[in-house]
Symmetry: C2
Subunit: 341 residues, 2 copies
Amino acid sequence: MNPPPRRPLTLRDVSEASGVSEMTVSRVLRNKGDVSAATRTKVQEAAKRLGYVPNKIAGSLASSRVNLVGVVIPSLSNMVFPEVLSGISERLDDTGLQPVVGVTDYLPEKEEKVLFEMLSWRPSGVIIAGLEHSEASEAMLRQAGIPVIEIMDVDGVQIDSCVGISHRRAGRMMAEQIIEAGYKRIGFMGTKMPRDHRARKRFEGFTRTLAKAGIEIADQDFYSGGSALAKGREMTQSMLERTPDVDFLYFSNDMIGAGGLLYLLEKGIDVPGQIGLAGFNGVELLDGLPMQLATMDACRKEIGLAAADMIAKHYAEGADSYERRIELEPKLALGQTLLRR
Amino acid sequence: MNPPPRRPLTLRDVSEASGVSEMTVSRVLRNKGDVSAATRTKVQEAAKRLGYVPNKIAGSLASSRVNLVGVVIPSLSNMVFPEVLSGISERLDDTGLQPVVGVTDYLPEKEEKVLFEMLSWRPSGVIIAGLEHSEASEAMLRQAGIPVIEIMDVDGVQIDSCVGISHRRAGRMMAEQIIEAGYKRIGFMGTKMPRDHRARKRFEGFTRTLAKAGIEIADQDFYSGGSALAKGREMTQSMLERTPDVDFLYFSNDMIGAGGLLYLLEKGIDVPGQIGLAGFNGVELLDGLPMQLATMDACRKEIGLAAADMIAKHYAEGADSYERRIELEPKLALGQTLLRR
DNA sequence: TTGAAAGCGCTAACAA
DNA sequence: TTGTTAGCGCTTTCAA
């Protein structure tokens, strides 16, 4: 067989091997322009035989079209963002576009760095989590001249387009349910993440709605690191010791909620009679728990799909082919842990 | 302020704005070569003021250096691959290298497609899950002339480098523990995924070791789709109905194992007295369960870190600066569900 | 320390 | 239907 080349093959190699001009080879390989069937076959065979892989760097420079989509997310360490990513990947699948992922760890400086790095590839679009960015990041996004989709959140001012849910509203909705069900002594548990604006907004929506009903949070606790399920357990235990008269626990994510639920059930506490519970996210995991935890679906995959859809449409049909703002409805699921008492 | 440009800025713009040649601007922006402090400042200010973002497409074409690393994984829908990805992302963080992710859905044809797409960016390396690839994929990887790191598995022939655990051995180790503990009627539950070679190898290692001890699998079941926790529950229930005398359940992942565990505990079945349990993966989640599920850590994050480390070393110090094969030790954790009876 | 020229591998635009 | 020419925006190389 052919000895493996040290130098990557170029169009010229295929051109020489097939006896067709570089330009025509390029046309065949991109399915662009009219090429006779005979030539087409000749070229395809030569390309395949040689094992030619086109060089997109050169192609993109020449055509100023880049089939990359930047995706900027804060973390990969719970299922939330991988699910969004999965939606993006799925929608982009047969568009010829490819996601490039950057992780910010919830740090604005890192977001700037990641964004700068990405934009230097002149991607066809950027999908970025959240509406809060540093001035520099925002300037870069505005200057880029490409579609920018801010995802997960709609409470604020978007740069270009956005898809997400209203976290304030999500917090409010859950508070309303809890109030309506008659709970009065409400504890809150969440993550210690001042930079997680969505969690913050949910909390705000939640506490404000309670306040309007004359209820103040009875106790609250925040964790960082470790197994969320275990932390939910621990925090629940401490909270019950500190504030034995709580009658409802609202968790900022389902994982700690599940931990709390398992703890209460083990202790033989009547859920939702003595204590009601609710989480947030609508993770699949909940289906397998001994009791359905009340939660609210954050539409993670849909958000990924919708965001990628905007980019895909922009890429294929232009800037005016899609809605610039999509607010999804977080679906409330009362499960069995939040019931009128 | 400056009106936002429709055309992205080029080196020439910075050159003109700073009164310095393009070449020198390029040197400043890359911290390459000797430039006087005065010139440096002038250029940096101009670049910042204009909001210049370099064009890596052009830079890469000119220098034939591409700071991209292709990452090819089968799925994003459980925590396994996001965790690997997280390790990769972390290690690559300050190397100037960036991951580009492709998802194959366990389909060889899609792997080929994704790989072709990636290689056409001439990345500095590829990290790819598994040792089993189609002929075409393998040919592409060999021809690429870049470091190729196959991850997660070491049972087979590597193309270039690999990092992972031996899944056959993992299966064997767990079987040995189960046998030693005195269990005899063993049920297996896993995913319906003929293409998941690692799960297959674990199962093989497991059954062969049992066979040597004269034990045959008493019952087995495979699921696809849905919430793993719920499926673990359901499958466990059906298996107990079908084969009431099983005394051990081996699950191919911790999530279904946790479902099984919750089910058994609810039913008041004595674990591990009447029935022992084990899963696979060592997910953090397990820390919060009512009882510690026996499992084996698959070293997911370490694999990501080590694979990215190889690429980073290759990029910075050349092809001979790292070990070509790293077999990690899956750590066995017997928890409380696999005990001598 | 700085600058000028050449060209990376491809594609847009035009010509044949 | 096919080929030719001229860059895309940068970096390499070499000269000043």
